[in-house]
């Protein structure tokens, strides 16, 4: 059984699902509003003869029809960042404000981190953490290229993330976050259009082991968020073990609840049952995006309110 066959019982239109997974992914870029406006990017791409069109759901996300996103002036100036359409979603759902204290728990290589910085208008305080030191250099490079100045980069295991280096308990230190993004490491089934070999290393054992890591990270994220704060959980995979089952576990273990949210992309609700296991009914508030819904990669996203 291939990973995709495993989920056909969950999908509304299995034929469209399979067909979309077989198509390559359109090349997309995000306008970096820290350094440029959407209008100026359009003008610069036009002047260079780079074909582009806005997506129908976000003016700052563009599809480049025939060009490599890295070879034009807007990219050289850090006005553009190559970022898949659907991966723009979690930062928009987290909706950080300029003066917020925000933690991106699994930040490298930084597409969503730099998008968070832009949504915060490069003010407030943003912590980008990753446990992989090698990948942190990609995060740092992207953040600097895009002109981000509100970012603190840390190298910790998010499951037992310490606020001590951020001065917790001291005047001016960070003792809790207003908003946290957990864009968790996952089995990446939803990236099959971008990485045709994504299934080569797939195994059920890996799904189960990464689910354990996801539960630990999401629990720590809820603990590090102030009461009244918000946590967004996302993955680029279909496996309910890594999505609804993780939410179910954390709803039970920590003081938080799932909340409804408006998404600019089409999807379907989270599933409440999988292979004989039943989940908390509120996991329906999560959003599953299959590749055929919006002609993107696959994605999962949920929004949680912390405390009360």
């Amino acid at each position: 059984m291939t990973p995709l066959e495993r989920y056909e019982s969950l999908v509304d239109d299995p034929d469209a699902f399979r067909a979309a997974c077989d198509r390559p992914l359109p090349s997309a870029v995000r306008v970096n509003t820290i350094k440029a406006t959407v209008e100026r990017v359009h003008a610069a791409l036009d002047a260079e003869g780079v074909a582009h069109e806005p997506t129908d759901w976000h003016p700052g996300v563009l599809r480049l029809t025939d060009d490599s996103p890295g070879h034009n002036w807007p990219h050289a100036h850090g006005w553009l960042h190559g970022q898949e359409e659907v991966s723009n979603l979690p930062a928009l759902i987290l909706d950080p404000r300029p003066d917020d204290r925000v933690w991106d728990a699994c930040a490298a290589p930084g597409s969503k981190t730099t998008q968070l910085a832009a949504l915060m208008q490069d003010s407030g305080l943003l912590v980008g953490n990753d446990n992989n030191l090698g990948r942190l250099s990609a995060l740092r490079h992207n953040a600097e290229r895009l002109g981000v100045t509100n970012l603190v980069v840390t190298n910790q295991d998010a499951r037992n993330f310490s606020l001590k280096p951020l001065g917790a308990g001291h005047e001016g230190g960070v003792s809790a976050f207003d908003r946290v993004l957990v864009d968790a490491p996952c089995s990446c089934e939803g990236t099959i259009r971008k990485n045709p070999d994504a299934f080569d290393t797939w195994s059920l054992d890996h799904v189960h082991s990464v689910a354990g890591v996801q539960k630990g990270i999401l629990r720590r994220a809820v603990q590090a968020t102030r009461p009244g704060g918000v946590v967004v959980y996302s993955t680029c995979t279909f496996a309910p073990e890594e999505n609804e089952a993780v939410l179910d576990h954390v709803l039970d273990a920590e003081d938080c609840r799932l909340v409804d949210f408006d998404a600019p992309l089409d999807g379907v609700p989270g599933v409440t049952e999988w292979e004989g296991e039943e989940f908390d009914p509120s996991v329906e508030k999560a959003l599953r995006i299959y590749p055929h819904h919006n002609d993107t990669g696959g994605f999962f996203c949920a929004k949680m309110a912390v405390g009360g």
Partner: protein, 171 residues
Amino acid sequence: MTDNDGQRFDRLPATAADREVTGRASRAEVIEWWVDRFGLPADAFDDYTFWEKGAGKIWIFAADLPSPTDVEGLGMTFLRTRQEHWKPTTNAVQRFGRAATRNVIELGEADARRFLAGEDRKPDWDGDWGYLIVAHELAGDVEPIGVGLYVHGELRSVIPKGRRASLPARE
């Protein structure tokens, strides 16, 4: 006075009179250097804090934290000090150089592309020697590309390798 510990982030002292670490630039000196050299408004950096990590590497940060702090990055690298001629970073020039009013050299399109690729140029320039903001016109405005070192009639591209690019010829 103590020696610089290059392994952690220390906030810069407000002024030279507050200095406790040998050779460390002060916040006032760093801002004064940028404002003097590039003609930025004196209040351009009011909302930022400045930090040193490594030998002379100054970072600009939009927030504040207790000092010292043991993290991997704090804002963006901004300026290289502890050397005779202080040197702004490419990324800082792209981020803050749009407000510059002097020591900005504007290249034509062909020279701008070769400069971005890391090639040295010989432009007409009768201004100061030293580190200049190199810019070009793009989409109706002048946009900084990076830092050039102007000496002996030559503009050396000091764009770091990771930011160089060879753009395809315009049709």
